[in-house]
């Protein structure tokens, strides 16, 4: 029984990371109807940046927040410089652009930080007061961080004028312009936030899996599955979806199919959701684009 609970807990921990990345994906999707295939590689790059700062002697949380800020700015810059020129092009063109970004970030990680596998520290010491045999310190801390991020995002979107403007820009860009919202900058803001959230995801998972340029490849896939499961236009659904996918992945891996087929689980999930219930659990809009 304990082993079952441990699997569930491990699933929640990785699920938290999926949830964060899924949140980032949905934020961009809501505003632009594009899926940012480069989200994982951007997160990996951010994590490397954090690693460099820590190596240079920065304290963990200093590096953490600096990385958040840098990632935010980076996300804004990418939207302005690379994504915006292709705004009105076909979806196919946009996917190609995102694949290009994926490749470039992956390459940057490799070129700047090399391919040696590195360890990334956790801010939650193993013997912290909240650690237990059931759930290790980093796991619980990571879930906590994730909940804080989700809560902060929710509060921002729900209770601040800027958050309201972002929502308006995503829902009805034409009308948003008519009330003076600079829609283009709202998109950039969305990208910045997504990049920062991705950075958090990277920094939470790195202690568990070791840091190398290909760290987020599989995670991105799970994040997509989570986003689809929760409803691709529903950020909170995506977060919940992340937890569900994480737990399911672990339980299936432990009890049903073994750990060899984990990525296949994601594939089956994705195709399955698209076939059976494309709007996911909580999504409202079923995309019936012809």
């Amino acid at each position: 029984m304990e082993s079952f609970l441990q699997q569930v807990v491990a699933g929640l921990v990785s699920g938290g990371v999926y949830a964060l990345l899924a949140l980032a994906l949905v934020m961009i999707y809501q505003a632009t109807h594009h899926m940012n295939f480069a989200q994982g590689e951007m997160a990996t790059f951010s994590t490397f940046v954090a690693w460099s700062l820590i190596q240079a002697g920065w304290p963990y949380w200093g590096a953490f927040f600096a990385t958040l800020a840098l990632s935010f700015l980076g996300g804004v810059a990418i939207q302005r410089v690379v994504v915006r020129p292709f705004e009105k092009a076909s979806p196919l063109t946009n996917v190609v652009v995102f694949v290009a970004l994926l490749l470039i970030f992956n390459a940057l990680s490799g070129l700047l930080f090399h391919h040696d596998v590195r360890t990334f520290p956790s801010p939650f010491p193993k013997d912290a007061w909240f650690a237990s045999s059931l759930i290790p310190a980093h796991g619980l801390g990571s879930i906590g961080v994730m909940l804080i991020v989700v809560g902060a995002l929710y509060a921002f979107l729900r209770f601040t004028p800027l958050g309201l403007a972002m929502r308006a820009a995503a829902l009805n860009p034409g009308s948003a312009r008519l009330v003076g919202v600079r829609v283009s900058w709202m998109l950039a803001l969305g990208w910045g936030l997504a990049a920062a959230i991705g950075a958090v995801a990277g920094m939470m998972i790195a202690p568990l899996v070791f840091l190398d340029p290909n760290m987020m490849g599989g995670v991105l896939l799970y994040a997509f599955a989570s986003a689809l499961l929760g409803g691709i236009d529903n950020p909170w659904g995506a977060a919940l979806g992340g937890f569900i996918v994480g737990v399911a992945e672990n339980l299936l891996g432990a009890y049903v199919i073994g750990t060899d087929l984990k990525l296949t689980v994601a594939l089956v999930l994705i195709v399955g959701i698209l076939t059976v219930r494309p709007s996911g659990l909580f999504g409202k809009i079923v995309v019936t684009r012809v």
Binding site: K88, A89, V99, A107, G110, L263, L267, V271, L274, V287
Partner: protein, 360 residues
């Protein structure tokens, strides 16, 4: 127009959208013109003029051209995207390998099976996603590409796939043990001719289909889906069939690769191969059959060269190339060359290329 005030006028850089008209008459490999036949004969004789090593390269070039053509049909003509064609490449390869190794079938017999299996898989994968829109197809194929190596290693089907070791594939023997017209037809040369034959058939099929009604229907679906739908075209089915065909092409290429390389194994088909195919298709030129050749050249030359620079160089080069092509040469190398040719051939008659998008 002077004094034109504009606000956010769209610069449409979609590579595929540059193909407004049917491919121009300068396209090669079309109907059975004298030029085409001459080309084929020349290609068949080519290895005679080159050292042995090049036969292998030439075979690989043809094979990659078929693979990229498959993706080109999908992306260039139908405007869909697949980041997962490595899976179909693998399916074709494994299908052929298993049939030859486990069932002792001759190679040529495995080709239709490989095509059929890839088609079926492509159709089944495509259908749920294409009901919803191209971006979901991209997602589904992305998942497929990443899951493929794992699937191929799966213990339960190891009896068939050979697990991590894979399957060794033997090259079909040349039926000509003694020289023909003074020419020694080695196994390699024989296989090259086989590959050439397959390539010619597939390219001819593609070129003709795409120029005719079906091609126009595909383009109509891509550019005016609502109108096409209103005319009674069952969009998801047609799109899924197109995806299946595209998969079949790449599957056939995979089958050829099984023999050319000599074995199949799970790690030969990593997710990155899909990206390589995608980059090749875009750089070579979407929306023209010739683009597939340039894409094949790309695959033959660039990855090996890049890998020698550094482990990350391929990704960097691919990424930058993709962006450069999207901005400067939306129709890829093939398109750029065709524009150049048109301008050189009749400089006065050709207005500035109407398919290149300009800011008004």
């Amino acid at each position: 127009m002077n004094g034109m005030n504009s606000m956010n006028e769209p610069t449409s850089l979609a590579p595929a959208l540059a193909v407004e008209n049917a491919p121009p008459a300068t396209a090669t490999g079309g109907s059975l013109s004298v030029k085409a036949v001459a080309l084929v004969v020349a290609l068949a004789a080519l290895p005679l003029a080159l050292p042995d090593y090049f036969v292998f390269q030439a075979t690989m070039l043809l094979m990659y051209a078929i693979a990229v053509l498959g993706l080109n049909i999908l992306m260039g003509y139908n405007g869909q995207i697949s980041i997962g064609h490595s899976a179909f490449f693998a399916i074709g390869a494994y299908c052929s390998a298993i049939c030859m190794d486990r069932f002792g079938m001759p190679f040529w017999a495995t080709l239709p099976l490989a095509a059929g299996a890839s088609f079926a898989f492509g159709f089944l994968m495509g259908f749920p996603a294409l009901r919803l829109g191209g971006i979901y197809l991209a997602l589904a194929t992305f998942a497929l590409a990443m899951a493929t190596p794992q699937l191929l290693k799966y213990k339960l089907i190891e009896a068939w796939t050979g697990g991590v070791q894979g399957i060794v594939v033997l090259k079909p023997e040349s039926p000509f043990t003694s020289p023909v017209a003074g020419v020694q037809v080695s196994d390699d040369y024989w296989f090259y001719l086989l590959t050439l034959a397959v390539a010619v058939v597939l390219f001819w099929l593609a070129s003709n289909l795409l120029r005719g009604r079906i091609g126009r229907a595909l383009i109509a679906i891509r550019d005016h889906p609502v109108a096409a739908s209103a005319m009674g075209i069952n969009l998801p089915v047609v799109k899924s069939v197109t995806f299946g065909i595209s998969a079949a092409y790449t599957g056939v290429a995979g089958a050829l690769s099984a023999v050319a390389v000599g074995f199949v194994s799970p790690d030969s088909f990593p997710g990155f191969l899909s990206i390589t195919l995608l980059v090749a298709a875009v750089v070579g030129g979407l929306g023209s059959v010739q683009g597939a050749f340039f894409g094949a050249l790309f695959i033959l030359l660039i990855p090996n060269f890049a890998e020698q620079i550094s482990k990350s160089a391929p990704s960097a080069i691919y990424g930058v190339l993709l962006l450069v092509v999207m901005v400067l040469m939306p129709r890829g190398v093939a398109g750029a060359l065709m524009s150049l040719w048109a301008r050189v051939a009749s400089p006065a008659a050709v207005p500035s290329d109407p398919t290149l998008q300009t800011k008004e």
